[in-house]
């Protein structure tokens, strides 16, 4: 199959998936046991008069037939119009959203880079010298941190490094009411971000280690490695030039897959460190039953995972054209 046909097919599939995600989002909110208007006003301490309820129903377009509502929802979604947030009166969901987006991007981005670099390195070392202390240690480490709830690890790190030792601040994005600028401010932010990043990184290194290790072991069993060795190539060159290159391939898909998990992990970790990102925003939306906001957040999480999967597929086919035939 040609390169462009492959890209086209992948884009088409992603488009279909996007439609599915939007449909799920639409129904999440509408085909629930209680009607949306009651859901929106529940626990808000507001008792709406029947007329006001009818007006809100009309405003939300809920008195129209379902297909018409769906078309309206599609149009709104593509215009990024998700209505107004309840927690922040008078502000659109999108404007609230964009304020909380960057801290999360910074947190998840930094942690993802670190876990990939460290995880892959350990996987390569572990697979190359299988059964040595580094390998056995990494294996135990992976299993242990895999079994740990992210928020628990976050609280333990908080107790040890903030409460007991006082090395790091207990939460937030930067020191409140600080007038730091430039490098000093960046340092302050990094100081606040250290523990959240450490939590996420420790929690997900193991997956990269395991996949890299098993992929390297597969490759090391291949005939061409024996051939390379027979040619008398130095061992570290065999590893880095010949084995690792091919063994890296499966980790590309893993990066996309684990992205969803890291994003989910960020929700509770941000809660523990009161780090003002999308995760904390989601918790606030849940606590105050702001479903329009929650819906937009879920849509964002799904689309983020979808896009990262698409990118991984395309990168994979570019690095390894063989998959286009599959």
């Amino acid at each position: 199959m040609g390169e462009w046909r492959y890209v086209g097919r992948k884009l088409l599939q992603a488009g279909a998936t996007l439609l599915f995600i939007i449909t799920v989002n639409f129904f999440l909110f509408r085909v629930m046991p209680s009607d949306p208007v009651r859901l929106l006003t529940r626990q808000r301490g507001v008792q709406l008069s029947p007329e006001a309820q009818a007006a809100l129903t009309h405003d939300l377009g809920l008195d129209r037939p379902l297909p018409a509502q769906f078309v309206q929802y599609l149009a709104d979604t593509f215009r990024l119009d998700f209505g107004d947030s309840f927690i922040f009166p008078g502000q659109s969901v999108v404007s609230v959203f964009s304020r909380f987006l960057w801290p999360t991007v910074l947190l998840v981005g930094t942690a993802t880079v670190l876990m990939i670099v460290i995880g892959l390195y350990l996987g390569i070392r572990g697979g190359w010298k299988r059964g040595r202390p580094l390998d056995v240690g990494s294996m135990g480490f992976s299993l242990l941190f895999y079994s740990m709830p992210d928020f628990w690890l976050a609280m333990i790190l908080l107790i040890v490094f903030s409460t007991a030792l006082g090395w790091f601040p207990s939460g937030g994005f930067e020191s409140p009411s600080s007038d730091l600028t430039g490098f000093a401010r960046a340092l302050d932010i990094a100081n606040h971000m250290f523990l959240p990043v450490l939590t996420l990184t420790l929690g997900y290194i193991g997956e990269y280690y395991l996949v890299m290790r098993s992929s390297l072991l597969d490759v090391l069993g291949e005939d061409y490695i024996t051939t390379v060795r027979a040619k008398g190539i130095r061992e570290d060159r065999v590893l880095w030039r010949h084995a690792v290159r091919n063994a890296m391939l499966p980790t590309i898909s893993l990066i996309a897959l684990s992205f969803g998990f890291v994003l989910a992990g960020a929700i509770t970790v941000e809660l523990v460190f009161s780090y003002p990102g999308l995760g904390l925003l989601a918790i606030q939306a849940i606590d105050s039953q702001d479903f329009l906001l929650l819906q937009a957040l879920f849509l964002f999480a799904s689309v983020a995972v979808l896009v990262s999967n698409l990118v991984a597929d395309l990168v994979y086919s570019w690095v390894d054209p063989r998959v286009r035939e599959a």
């Binding site: 079994s147 628990w152 107790i159 207990s170 929700i267 479903f291 957040l297």
Partner: protein, 312 residues
């Protein structure tokens, strides 16, 4: 340890005198014995099993070990936020309840939700996987497309959103976790069912006029079952983690004490900043131990079922 199909073993003279059923059961006993002999050699598998048995005993014997009254905030008699001592081995919480009592009773809810959610996920995943793999063709592509769509939806955020909308009860949590975690099971079961379908004895049975349901019940299911089982053990671990996260966010059943719910209470009371490590440490360590144990058992099972992994 896939079983050979009925009648494919070497015919022995006694077969004629025994009923087909007894032959089948004898073979199953034999394969179970063989399985146990292999499993016993896995240090991880045995360690996991021992931990699980201990926790299961704790959960079952909870009413005998600690009276249910000790969970009642109004009847708590202990000192407030006391660190571990002989009287309160895991310390006390803000209301003077023994953390040990919370941990013992919490094990019931955490384990029950984990098991039930994994069963829901297994039933849905196995049904979709078997139909897709066994029917093949259009069924296969339609069901797998659907599964792939679901794979993209991030599981925990979906579960959180659903639980936030639907409200909080144990039933809703079980359903929400179960119904958001089946796609991997479906994929694994499908690939197994696909290979079983092509085996000669299935073709032979079909040739003899066996009905689809009969084939699935007699041949596909028994052959796919070991894979489903190992997968379910692994998904219990994930379900317990998911329950703890939902409870921690405040979406747990407010009427029940689970490990995650205890951690939520501790966090809300500011336990991390006042240094009440016991209130957070012990319930969390239980989650880690149980999840670790299920994962070790699941990995040990997978290694037996998948010989390619065995050399690792």
């Amino acid at each position: 340890m896939t079983e050979p199909d009925a009648g494919a073993g070497a015919p022995t003279p006694e077969v004629a005198t025994r009923s087909a059923r007894s032959v089948v059961w004898a073979r199953r006993r034999l394969s179970a014995r063989r399985f146990w002999a292999t499993y016993r050699r896995s240090v991880m598998g045995i360690a996991g099993l021992v931990i699980l048995v201990l926790f299961a005993l704790m959960a079952l014997l909870a009413p005998v070990l600690v009276s249910a009254d000790s969970l009642d905030v109004t009847k708590a008699t202990g000192p407030i936020l006391a660190p571990p001592s002989w009287e309160y081995p895991m310390g006390t919480d803000e209301a003077g309840r023994s953390v040990l009592a919370l941990v013992v009773w919490g094990s019931r809810v955490s384990l029950a939700i984990g098991l039930l959610a994994a069963v829901v996920s297994m039933v849905v995943g196995a049904a979709i996987g078997i139909v897709a793999g066994y029917r093949g063709g259009r069924w296969d592509s339609a069901l797998m497309r659907f599964t792939d769509w679901f794979l993209v939806l991030p599981g925990l955020p979906l579960a959180i959103t659903l639980a936030a909308i639907l409200g909080q009860s144990m039933f809703i949590i079980v359903m929400v976790i179960g119904l958001t975690s089946w796609p991997w099971t479906a994929r694994i079961v499908r690939s197994q069912a696909l290979s079983v379908r092509e085996r000669p004895y299935v073709e032979r049975a079909r040739g003899l006029g066996a009905h689809d349901l009969q084939l699935i019940a007699k041949h596909v299911l028994p052959n796919v079952f070991p894979v489903i089982f190992a997968n379910t053990i692994l998904s219990i671990a994930l379900a317990i983690l998911a329950e703890s996260a939902l409870s921690f966010i405040g979406l747990g059943d407010p009427l029940r004490v689970s490990w995650g719910a205890t951690l939520e209470l501790a966090f809300d009371a500011g336990a991390p900043t006042i240094g009440a490590w016991w209130w957070i440490g012990f319930p969390g360590a239980c989650i880690v131990l149980v999840v670790l144990a299920f994962t070790m058992c699941g990995n040990a099972l997978e290694e037996i079922l998948n010989p390619r992994l065995r050399q690792r």
